[in-house]
């Protein structure tokens, strides 16, 4: 039986192909149902003008019941955006990727949320605990238990 995850992802992919991605978001790679790559730009007036980031989604068999592992790609010259909720290793502290994940959310919904997170940024700086976190961070951001408090990541 095709798992829920592949069925759901194939539908999501079909929708993306039919309807296209929202402005500023482009599908780079979705060859299989385990890893997808997107590029993401912030349109209009923002601190991230003319910057382009690559976003990686990793799915397990339980997707969409369990959340995807989402992070910015920081290899091959690509950088994570300098943002108070984004660590220099690409990990993102966002509640919708953790305890507020809902199976109703989709890959595109996550992209749009992250895009607006960047767009609303007022000051470019790394999370205060960046160095400490990056040193001990697990490979998969889902293994981190973030503490979400809106203003800062702790």
């Amino acid at each position: 039986m095709a798992s829920i995850s592949s069925r759901r992802l194939s539908k999501e992919l079909m929708e993306i192909k039919n309807d296209g991605c929202p402005v500023g978001i482009n599908l780079v790679n979705a060859d299989d149902f385990s890893t997808w790559l997107f590029t993401i730009e912030v349109m209009g007036d923002s601190l991230y003008q003319n910057e382009k980031f690559t976003l990686q989604f990793r799915f397990d068999q339980q997707y969409p019941i369990s959340s995807p592992a989402v992070q910015f790609v920081v290899t091959e010259g690509r950088q994570a955006p300098v943002h108070p909720h984004v660590y220099s290793n690409g990990h993102i502290c966002a509640s919708i990727l953790g305890n507020e994940w809902s199976p109703v959310l989709s890959v595109i919904a996550v992209c749009v949320t992250l895009q607006s997170m960047l767009a609303s940024c007022k000051e470019k700086h790394r999370p205060i605990d960046n160095d400490r976190y990056v040193k001990h961070a697990p490979e998969n951001p889902k293994k981190t238990r973030f503490h979400y408090d809106g203003e800062f990541t702790v």
């Binding site: 759901r8 539908k11 339980q62 969409p64 809902s102």
Partner: protein, 630 residues
């Protein structure tokens, strides 16, 4: 653990008043229950006046311990089904007061940690708010004009109607016409064929016509397959029984029957129905300080011990309880542990009874010492014993600066690295006095050597003291473990005895009894050393140690008789009768000494007789004692 008690202290008043209400109820309920269970209801100790009735059901073997000794506590062992029954009583009570469906009442009670008093207060204050907070219904967004047209024609209860119409359950779907159905229709099953539009599950994006759409009161539909996968993941991976709607930001909680409905769709899910029930019961038990779940792996029993429900009483008693089950169930064990207890009844296997302390996490009988002191001791042993042992056997202290020195080779002429003091490793006296005659160390009685040893002994005494207690504690623990072997050996002896002598099966039971008594007393003895370590000096301690000595001597006598008895018996088979007499006598004596030990310490706690040499919660300041705080 401690948080449980903090909770109980704060909320104590609520429970007290609950109890009064329950007592009143129980008087009526008891007769009904009697009828239900009277086919094997041969309990004669219906003395419990707490929340739970004890019924001697098949799977519920261990009777309520009546409080006959001052070192025992009153408690009741409950199976999961009995706890579920009392949960249901609470739910029915609330459901009756508010006029809401039992499933709604369940969610309301769970939301407030089964605190009925607080729930009633909050509900009276603002029923809509509490219904929203507990996830029974969606927050009010638009005023509902539709609620007026569908007021229940069943006008039996005005409060009921008020409740119902104030809840906006009706918003969710036009298919629900009557409010009396609305809360039970939280589980709304609408087939896609109902509507002309085809249903596409927002989770898996499946749109096949056979799809069954399910939603809670919030009307956020998803297909049954996704609901099942979601519920399984929540229950199995997160151990969560409060399962919310999958939609982002929706706080509506799925009622129990909904969960069962979706779990039944799947083979894995079916297996999890029991787990779900267990999680619900655990939540209930955890919120009630009078209850504690059996900590043994795989066991689902609960113990009710109202007399140990608050932290303050733990300085006066040691609430050792047993859930009634034995051994560790296999994975296929059914949750009621029926087969387990019956199996061990018949088999002679020496499986461990589920004895644990109601007041602290120690999973053994730590009588006579109270929880706080037992935990101090456990912590100390964890921290110190190995290190202390090594230091004691491998190092000495510089007699000038008290640095710890390990001699790892070379001659006895030591120079302290820290203070450059030169001394003799053997006699600890200053090296300068040794001269050429150092090797004889004949300066034992010289002033310098004596002083040096004094200084060292002062600083070492506390360690020595600790090890004195620790070694005896560990020895009894080890001997208790070895009693498993002794058990096997004894069993063999018992069989032999039946063959070689004229004694019958029933007559050789004395051996088994003796081993059991021995094990029990060793457990007591073990903990008396933890207690002795922390007891402040004085006449009380002397008396305590007299009791301890008497018990220990009796235990060792009996142990010797049991271990050596076999050989003796082989030699002179005609003497079995004499051996039996001696062992029986010793067993009775040991039990008596154990009784005295436990009784005396328990009374001491009640009278506040014991003084400690360390600070213990609920006691006065520690008394001055040499080497007490190490």
């Amino acid at each position: 653990m401690s948080s449980d008690y903090e909770f109980s202290d704060n909320e104590g008043e609520y429970y007290d008043s609950d109890e009064m209400m329950d007592d009143y109820q129980n008087d009526e309920d008891e007769e009904m229950e009697g009828d239900k269970y009277n086919n094997h209801n041969h309990n004669n100790n219906n003395m419990n006046d707490d929340d739970y009735d004890y019924t001697n059901d098949d799977d519920f073997r261990i009777p309520t311990k009546s409080k006959s000794k001052s070192y025992q506590v009153e408690y009741t062992s409950l199976t999961q089904s009995l706890v579920e029954k009392s949960m249901k009583e609470e739910v029915d009570h609330v459901s009756g007061i508010f006029g809401v469906e039992p499933s709604t009442a369940t969610l309301l009670l769970r939301h407030l940690g089964w605190n009925k008093e607080r729930l009633i207060d909050k509900y009276m204050e603002n029923p809509t708010q509490i219904l929203v907070d507990s996830g029974c219904q969606v927050p009010e967004t638009i005023p509902s004009p539709s609620s007026s047209h569908s007021v229940d024609d069943k006008s039996s209860s005005s409060s009921r109607r008020a409740t119902r119409s104030s809840s906006k359950l009706l918003l969710l779907s036009s298919s629900i016409t009557s409010p009396s159905r609305s809360s039970s229709a939280q589980k709304k099953i609408s087939s896609t064929s109902d509507s002309s539009m085809t249903f596409t599950c927002p989770i898996c994006y499946d749109d096949s016509p056979s799809l069954i759409a399910l939603s809670l009161t919030c009307a956020h539909s998803a297909c049954s397959g996704c609901w099942t996968a979601y519920a399984i993941s929540k229950i199995r991976d997160e151990g969560e029984h409060c399962i919310r709607c999958m939609t982002e930001g929706c706080a509506v909680v799925a009622p129990d029957e909904f969960i069962h409905r979706v779990l039944r769709d799947d083979d894995d899910g079916k297996d999890l129905e029991g787990r779900f029930e267990e999680l619900v019961v655990r939540g209930f038990v955890a919120s009630n300080p009078k209850l504690k779940f059996c900590p043994y792996p795989g066991c689902t029993n609960t113990v009710s011990c109202p007399s140990a429900a608050s932290k303050s009483v733990l300085s006066m008693l040691v609430p050792i309880v047993s859930c009634g089950a034995r051994g560790i169930p296999s994975s296929s064990q059914n949750p009621t542990s029926t087969s387990l207890s019956t199996a061990t009844n018949t088999s002679s296997a020496h499986t461990k009874e589920h004895i644990f302390c109601f007041g602290c996490p120690i999973e053994s009988d730590h009588r006579p010492v109270i929880c706080a002191v037992a935990r101090l001791w456990m912590k100390k042993c964890e921290d110190d014993s190995e290190t202390a042992n090594w230091i004691k056997s491998n190092t000495k202290e510089c007699s000038q600066c008290q640095s710890t020195i390990e001699k790892n080779g070379g001659c006895n002429h030591m120079t302290c690295k820290k203070c450059r003091y030169e001394f003799c490793w053997v006699c600890m006296g200053p090296w300068s006095e040794h001269g050429t005659a150092w090797y004889s160390c004949n300066r034992y009685d010289e002033k310098g050597g004596v002083e040096a040893r004094d200084a060292q002994s002062r600083s070492r005494a506390s360690l020595e003291r600790y090890l004195h207690y620790y070694n005896r504690w560990a020895n009894h623990e080890q001997s208790t473990k070895l009693s498993l072997d002794l058990y096997a050996k004894t069993e063999k002896k018992m069989t032999d005895m039946q063959i070689t002598s004229s004694l019958t099966w029933i007559e050789v039971q004395f051996m088994k009894k003796a081993v059991e008594a021995l094990e029990k007393c060793r457990e007591t003895l073990k903990w008396t050393y933890a207690m002795g370590y922390y007891l402040g000096r004085g006449n009380e301690k002397e008396l305590f140690e007299d009791n301890q000595r008497d018990l220990e001597r009796a235990v060792e006598d009996l142990a010797e008789l049991l271990e050596g008895g076999g050989v003796e018996m082989e030699k002179e088979k005609e003497n079995v009768g004499g051996l039996r007499q001696r062992i029986t006598d010793k067993t009775v004596y040991v039990q008596k000494r154990n009784e005295i030990m436990l009784e005396d310490t328990a009374i001491g706690f009640q009278d506040g007789r014991w003084k400690w040499n360390v600070g213990v919660d609920g006691f006065e300041e520690p008394i001055e004692d040499f080497g007490g705080v190490v």
